[in-house]
Amino acid sequence: MSAADTPVAIQPGGLWLAFTQNRLAWVGLVLLALIVFIALFAPWLAPHDPLEQNIVARLEPPSAEFWLGTDSYGRDVLSRLIYGARISLFVGFVAILIAMLVGTAIGVLAGYIGGVFDQLVMGVLDVLLAFPTLLLGLMIAAMLGASLENLIIAIAVTEVAPFARVARAPTITLRQRDFVEASRSYGCGPFRIMTRHILPNMISDVVVMSSLWLASAIRTEASLSFIGLGVPPPAPTWGAMIREGFENILDAWWLAVFPSLAILVTVLALNLLGDALRDASDPRSRSR
């Protein structure tokens, strides 16, 4: 069997396999569902207003009133944490969606056109891939200025290259398959072949990887917010909360610890899920 005959896309049952074979996938899914639930219902779950300042109750340790303590403006850490989930998930999802659209388009075009165009595009993408994600995002966010939109753009740019890589490989294989050849002889144009015949057959590969890269995007968001290039204050972002905790590290450990755990749990949940999905979609690792 030649490489062109092997199925590139995972079968519908493949995704289910991730959950039957890998118990850790369930852990990831449940944790992620919990975080999404918290983000969606933040106004009902948060005990306090995340922006309400209370000068009398500054830097209070965890108590019955403030479960996770208060920050240096007297704001409730738990409520800020709950609202922070919204920002992290929103920025991550939108950035990954943009990166997926742009990256997949670049990958399919490069794979379908081939030749010098392909080599040049992949050369640039390889450099982008090897360039430190954080530094790339940092430079872009710094040049454009700190705002929600620029943060999303910066993170999206850092994640375009991996999507393009994953989209390109199956495109090259699919381009030579008989059904693509057949539709070409029927008079299908390149645009129609790419969108109707190639894209549907490889999109699952791209979607599978997006959960791993969502983890990376959320990590970049937290890092940029920590550096001060995230959504500007007073918005409650996890990275900025850790920054504040870092500045008060000697007298208020709770400020840094709880948002740190929130980031860790979110990224871990996505990694557990993504790892299991990738294993299930890769027939070689399935037998292992």
Binding site: D126, M143, L144, S223, D275, R288
Partner: protein, 314 residues
């Protein structure tokens, strides 16, 4: 072989060209006028005009672009606006401490990651494999500043084992230096261990199913010798390559680690440039990073071609 070498190097040139153009465009995307962003709102018209002339911003864009490329070709990466020193000099001043940190981290990663990865592969789907996979996923999920802060709270503040502020002067005895290096190196080393472990496990799983391993086992080669001389020897090539490829991730994480542990280095240089709105230093740093990445990429590809003859013909 020569043809492959030449082709690979020739391909790096247009890539470099595209990257430099992207950096040029990115720096010109700074909202508003770069000179007034750098000097602030209160700057006088005369000082603004002087800075514009110094940066060449009064020239048409295509003249600026050609001057930009010309300078880089002659090895001039510009100078820092705040210190007046050349970007190369700024980088060379802090490079030794970043190299010290990354070398220590890679060493920790190899010392712990290799044996853990081999152990996981040998007990495939057993409990050792299971535990080490979970631990490495946790290690990969930590943003470097999160693990750094947690370590700082536990080991420096609660237990008092290590200095809170790190060694900023670079002076002091060897023992003091090592004590200041310990936590930052461990912080990066744990992440590196997780990477190395995963790659080693995957590489070993690939090698252990090969025929020559079965043959060696049938001939009565003991487990230790089998792993060390037969399997690891061949599995090492992808492992080393991946360690090279994670170079970028390592640099990114070292930036955050240097901030947390207050160490001098590339990370603090970049953050300092950011806070001082030193755009010429930032641009110079981007160019140097891009060139380094392209050189490392090309060298990795060339090494691949040398090790695996099949690559040359593809």
């Amino acid at each position: 072989m020569i043809g492959y070498l030449v082709r690979r190097i020739l391909l790096a040139i247009p890539t470099l060209f595209v990257m430099l153009t992207a950096i040029f465009v990115l720096v010109r995307l700074v909202p508003g006028d770069a000179a007034s962003v750098i000097l602030g709102d209160q700057a006088s018209a005369a000082s603004l005009a002087a800075l514009r002339e110094k940066l060449g911003l009064d020239q048409p864009v295509h003249v600026q672009y050609l001057a930009f490329l010309g300078k880089i070709l002659t090895g001039d990466f510009g100078e820092s606006l705040s210190s007046g020193r050349s970007v190369i000099r700024e980088v060379l001043l802090v490079l030794p401490s970043t190299i010290e940190l990354t070398v220590a981290a890679i060493t920790i990663g190899l010392i712990f990651g290799l044996p853990l990865g081999v152990a996981a592969a040998l007990s495939r789907n057993g409990w050792v494999d299971y535990v080490s996979r979970v631990v490495s996923l946790v290690g990969l999920s930590f943003p470097a500043f999160v693990s750094g802060i947690l370590m700082l709270i536990v080991f420096s503040i609660q237990l008092g084992w290590f200095p809170v502020l790190g060694n900023t002067s670079g002076a002091g005895s060897f023992a003091e230096r090592m004590r200041a290096l310990a936590l930052p190196a461990l912080n990066l080393g744990i992440i590196m261990t997780a990477y190395v472990m995963r790659v080693t496990r995957a590489a070993m799983l690939g090698v252990l199913t090969e025929d020559y391993i079965r043959t060696a086992r049938a001939k009565g080669v003991g487990p230790t010798q089998l792993v060390v001389t037969h399997a690891l020897h061949n599995g090492l090539i992808p492992i080393i390559t991946v360690v090279g490829l994670y170079f970028g991730t390592l640099i990114g994480n070292s930036v955050l680690t240097e901030i947390i542990f207050n160490r001098p280095g590339l990370g603090k240089l970049i953050i300092g440039a950011l806070n001082a709105r030193d755009y010429t230093l930032l641009q110079g740093l981007m160019i140097i990073f891009a060139i380094c990445v392209i050189v490392v990429n090309t060298l990795t590809d060339l090494a691949y071609g040398l090790v695996d003859p099949r690559v040359k013909y593809s």
